[in-house]
C-alpha cells in the first residue's frame, strides 16, 4: 500500500477527550463514512490499545496500523464494509 492510499479520509484527535472517548468517536466516523475510507484516531488513553483493535475485529473492518508515539498512539482503520 502506498503512502497516498494511507492518507486518512478523516482524522480524529481524541487526546484528552475522556467522554465520549476515542473508540466511540471512531465508531461514529465509521458509521458516517464510505467503504474504503481511512480513519485515523489519535488517543492518549492506554485502554485504546485493546479496545480499538477488539471492536475493529468484531465489526469486521481493517486495523491497518497502530503507530506508537511517546505519549499517544495513532490508530489507522479502514472501513471494509
Amino acid at each position: 500500500m502506498t503512502i497516498t492510499e494511507l492518507a486518512p479520509t478523516k482524522t480524529i484527535d481524541a487526546r484528552g477527550m475522556a467522554c465520549p472517548g476515542p473508540l466511540l468517536n471512531l465508531i461514529g466516523a465509521i458509521r458516517q463514512g464510505q467503504v474504503g475510507d481511512i480513519i485515523e484516531v489519535i488517543s492518549g488513553d492506554a485502554g485504546s490499545k485493546t479496545d480499538i483493535p477488539a471492536w475493529v475485529a468484531k465489526a469486521k473492518h481493517e486495523m491497518v496500523k497502530i503507530v506508537e508515539e511517546p505519549t499517544f498512539a495513532r490508530f489507522i482503520v479502514r472501513k471494509a464494509r
Binding site: P20, D51, A54, W55
Partner: protein, 377 residues
Amino acid sequence: MTARVVVLGGGVGGTLVANLLKKSLKSDASVTVVDGTGMHLYQPGFLYVALDQANALWLTRDERTLLRKDVELVVDSAMKVDAAAQTLTLGSGATLPYDYLVVATGSRLDREAVPGYGDTHDFYSMAGALRLREELRRFKGGKIRLGIAGIPYKCPPAPVEFVLMLDEYLRKKGVREKSEITLLSPLNRAFTIESASKLVQPLFDKRGIELRTFFNVEAVDPVGRNVTSIEGESVDYDLLVLVPPHRGSTVIEASGLGDAGGWIPTDRNTLQHEQQPRIFALGDATNLPISKSGSTAHFEAPVVASRIASLIRGSAPKEAYGGRVMCFLETGGGRATSLRFDYAHPPVPPQPSRFWHWAKWAFNRAYWVTVPQGRVG
C-alpha cells in the same frame, strides 16, 4: 459604530453567551438571539419525564424571560448564513447583518436514518419522553432493550442512567420479575469512561441488568420485533428504546458551514470556526469529539463571550476553553455519582451516594435562575 452580534439558538449555550456578552459590552454591541420556537427546553429533564418522576411543564420556559431585557429576541427560523456577506436570512425572508455570529443550534434528531425506526421509543425529545411514559405506565412485563443508533449523541451517561432508573421503576410497579432489561452498549463496557464503568458494572450485576457489548444499532424490524447491529448481531424485544441518530442543524448544512454530520469545524481552544474567524460555535453544534451536553455548552459560553468581547474592543482574546465538563450520573435508588474532567484531567468519579443525587436534584431545580444568567461558573 455599535458592533452587531447574532446568536443562533436559545438553548443553554446561546442564552448564556447572549447574556454574558451584553453584560460585558453594554452599548458597545447589539446582541440578538434568533430561536425557532422562543421556548427554552431543559433537556436533562426528559429522562425524568419518561420515568414519571417529573412534570413536563417544569422543563420549558419562555426564552424571553431568561434573557436580559437589553438582548433582542427574534422568534423565527434561521434559514441560511452567508459568511462572505456576514448576513443571516430568516424564515420570514428578513436579513440580519452581523459582525460576529455564534452558532448554538444544538442537535437535530434524525430518526429516519434508521431503517424500520417507525414508532420505536426514545427519551430524546419532549414528545418522545411523553409517549414512552405512557407506554411504561401500560407495561406489564417483557423484554426491554435500550440501544444507541448513532454517534455522537447527547449526554453519553443517559442510557446508563435510564436502565438503572428503569430497574427501580419496574420494581416499584411490581413487574420487574416478569421483565428483562438489556443495555445494548456500543462499547465493550457499560460506559465510555472506564472508571465510571467500574462503578456501574456491579450495580448492573446486582440488579440483573444485562449488558450486551459492541452492539451499535443499525436497523429495526418492527414486525419481527428484532433489532440488528452494525457488528452483525440481532436481539429480540418487546419494548425497544433507542437513542436516535443526531445531526447538526439544517441551517449549518444549508449554509455549507459544517462537516458531513452537519457539525461546525471548531477549534478546541478558541471555539472559533476553523475557516470563518467571525463565526464561533459551542455546545452540540461543534464537531469537537467531546460530550454533547448542556454542561459542555455552559463551560464554553464564557470563553465565547469573552473572546468576542475582546475582538469587539480591539484587544487580543485571552480566555481559552480547556475542555471542562461536569455532569451527574444517576445510579437509581436515590444515589448518583459525578464526572468532572477537562482535556488534561480524566474523571475520577466518587462512589454513588445520596449526596450527588441531591446535588443533581438541586441543580435541576435551580437551573432556571442560575445557569442562563451566568450565576454559576
